[in-house]
């Protein structure tokens, strides 16, 4: 029995540590296979793997959801308390946003580029012991504002991660167009305008989610500590400044993408520090 006696069992089946580990391992296989398909697609210059990639990404997402359900049961709260959990939750958020954004912008290769990042997140999670063997429920009642703050902030980081991927794709395609090197990758990548729009929208979505997440932090019962406030604020200020600069001066897509690549270092540093707490 893995669930705490006081918690209602909301799951259709009994989730065990073995199932959670198996789910994570399955998700890793899904993302690795999608990554391998990406390499084959790019080398061969074909686009046959669009549906298999979507199915593999969906499979990885479902398996990650199973793991998060299990881990949530073990923690009695949203499972974002350790670095492995945070990475897997971040990967889950990124795939969630990918499914919302990818088809909208016809960014067929976004999944192909996202898969290696997701595989890395899950692999680190698995190697760092992401699956709890025993329950560790909170001693005091869970603060819903803290849960809202943490989960929304991480979902916003998922949007920023996807913006990072799309910005990388933009810069590659821009370089290929400028250098007139029309190779296999060029024909498979989406138009630069689609990519530039996707990066802008993803940064806006991420910024809005982060704003709500930070606003929720003001209602948390316990003071979270200044360093956390500084970290969260620095990410918010950096992306906010980028959006204001774009609004006032309308940055070129290249400048916007390059800046968003550099700014993504901040959420990564934040996650690293949170994981070492």
């Amino acid at each position: 029995m893995t669930h705490h006696a006081n918690l209602p069992n909301l799951y259709p089946m009994e989730l065990t540590a073995e199932i959670a580990s198996g789910s994570l391992f399955g998700a890793l296989l899904c993302f690795l296979t999608a990554s391998a398909l990406a390499v084959i697609e790019v080398l061969r210059g074909t686009r046959h793997a669009r549906i298999p990639t979507m199915l593999l990404m969906a499979g990885g997402f479902v398996l990650e959801t199973l793991y998060l359900q299990y881990q949530g049961g073990m923690r009695g709260r949203c499972p974002i308390t350790t670095l492995p959990e945070i990475l897997i939750f971040l990967g889950w958020s990124t795939v969630l946003i990918y499914f919302v954004v990818g088809p909208t912008y016809r960014l067929s290769l976004l999944g192909v580029f996202t898969a290696p990042l997701m595989a890395t997140f899950v692999a680190i999670g698995l190697l760092s012991g992401a699956v709890s063997q025993t329950p560790s429920l909170p001693s005091s009642p869970v603060d819903p504002w803290l849960e809202t703050h943490a989960s929304l902030s991480l979902i916003s980081y998922g949007a920023f991660a996807l913006a990072f991927v799309a910005a990388t794709m933009f810069l590659i395609q821009d370089r290929l167009l400028k250098s007139k090197s029309l190779n296999q990758l060029f024909y498979n990548l989406p138009p630069v305008c689609y990519l530039a729009n996707a990066v802008r929208r993803l940064v806006v979505v991420g910024f809005l989610l982060l704003t709500i997440g930070i606003a929720a932090a003001f209602f948390i019962r316990e003071f979270p500590g200044w360093w956390k406030i500084v970290l969260a604020s620095s990410v918010w200020i950096a992306y906010g400044s980028l959006l204001i600069a774009d609004l006032r001066r309308r940055l070129s897509p290249g400048s916007f993408c390059k800046t968003s690549l550099w700014i993504f270092a901040l959420p990564v540093i934040t996650l690293g520090l949170l994981g070492r707490r």
């Binding site: 210059g45 074909t46 046959h48 016809r106 395609q173 167009l177 400028k178 007139k180 029309l182 060029f186 024909y187 990548l189 989406p190 138009p191 630069v192 305008c193 689609y194 530039a196 774009d246 309308r250 940055l251 070129s252 897509p253 290249g254 400048s255 916007f256």
Partner: protein, 357 residues
């Protein structure tokens, strides 16, 4: 049951000869009726395009007599001229070779521009016409439906169609890789020569609706712009439209650069982050090459476009062996399922995909 294909194409004969054999669309029903009216032929399809005239026929008996009969029919229908009709070269494919030939035609492997797609539609149209006339039954229905499937398979499983092989198509492909769909793109044409017309038509065919032509001779500008619903602009005012256009196509006869980095630099401030695609097809060049270094500006001159088209042609040629392998395999399967052909057994295929005989 036997299957034959008799015809002439651009590889075998020049246009003067091909046009003597051409069957206008209005005459196809009559030709179909006369061929299927013969005792030896039961089914028939006529494909007549600018590059080929081919008759596919199926009959319940062995193929040799029916192929001679179809060849005789074609020669007799030829108008007078030189060489005499009896000396007109025709190819005659039977059984496996006939099926393989049609699969090659539908896949664009027998076309003047390797891998082109227009022939696929032309074959479909010819088949539909024959079907309407009741000239096809089981054998040719299966053959042509397989040909369409094989044509699609070859195009999707190989790179035979990848990349454009003409300068105009390359420019349009590039525009699509910058802007996506072109229906909301605005184009400025500098110079109203023939090459501008061809390129503008290519852009129009992919959805471009807003075209502005600036030319020193306003009459020529109107002649180019009007048929495409475009506008004209006085030549000395062309730079005023730079902030609002997406594509600039330049082919003036000017001796120096017409478009300078200063023109583009100031326009980019007003463009609010929108990219600009410059196509310079003039010799000497109209657009200062230094402009290509400006952020968010993509500049291609005539040599760059030619290089891309040549690379695509080379890439397509490298795909031929792979396409032939797919086609031979499909033709063998088709024959095995459909016909018991006594005189034209499908040849074995070696590892490289070539016929061993």
């Amino acid at each position: 049951m036997s299957l034959v294909c008799v015809g002439i194409n651009h590889q075998l004969a020049p246009v003067e000869l091909r046009e003597r054999l051409a069957v206008p669309e209005s005459a196809v029903p009559d030709v179909l009726g006369r061929i299927t009216g013969s005792a030896r032929v039961e089914e028939c399809v006529v494909i007549s395009t600018c590059n080929r005239v081919e008759i596919y026929a199926a009959s319940p008996r062995s193929g040799k007599n029916s192929s001679e009969e179809v060849a005789d029919f074609l020669r007799q229908s030829v108008s007078t001229g030189s060489p005499p009709s009896a000396e007109i070269p025709l190819y005659k494919h039977e059984g496996f070779e006939a099926a393989r030939h049609l699969f090659r035609v539908a896949s664009g492997l027998d076309s003047m521009v390797l891998g082109e797609t227009e022939i696929f539609g032309q074959v479909k149209k010819a088949y539909a016409l024959a079907q309407q006339q009741g000239a096809t039954q089981g054998a040719l229905n299966r053959l042509f439906q397989n040909a369409f499937r094989v044509g699609k398979r070859v195009r999707s499983d190989t790179d035979i169609q990848r990349g454009s092989t003409s300068v105009g198509s390359v420019a349009v492909d590039l525009a699509e890789k910058i802007f996506g769909q072109l229906d909301s793109c605005r184009v400025l044409i500098l110079g109203a020569g023939e090459i501008s017309r061809t390129m503008t038509q290519s852009l129009s065919s992919r959805g471009v609706k807003s075209i502005t032509v600036a030319n020193r001779s306003i009459e020529k500008a109107i002649a180019l712009a009007e048929p495409m619903g475009g506008k004209t602009l006085s030549f000395h005012e062309w730079s005023t439209s730079l902030p609002t256009v997406d594509i600039v196509l330049s082919s003036t006869a000017a001796e120096g650069y017409v478009v300078s980095p200063e023109h583009i630099g100031s326009a980019m401030h007003e463009r609010r982050g929108n990219p600009l695609f410059l196509i310079d097809i003039a010799v000497p060049r109209d657009i200062n090459p230094a402009i290509g270094k400006i952020d968010n500006v993509y500049l291609y001159d005539i040599d760059a476009l030619h290089d891309i088209a040549s690379n695509a042609r080379r890439r397509r040629e490298k795909q031929i062996a792979l396409c032939e392998e797919v086609i031979t395999e499909e033709a063998r399967e088709f024959l095995a399922k459909t016909f018991q052909d006594p005189f034209s057994p499908p040849p074995a295929v070696n590892d490289s995909g070539n016929k061993s005989s």
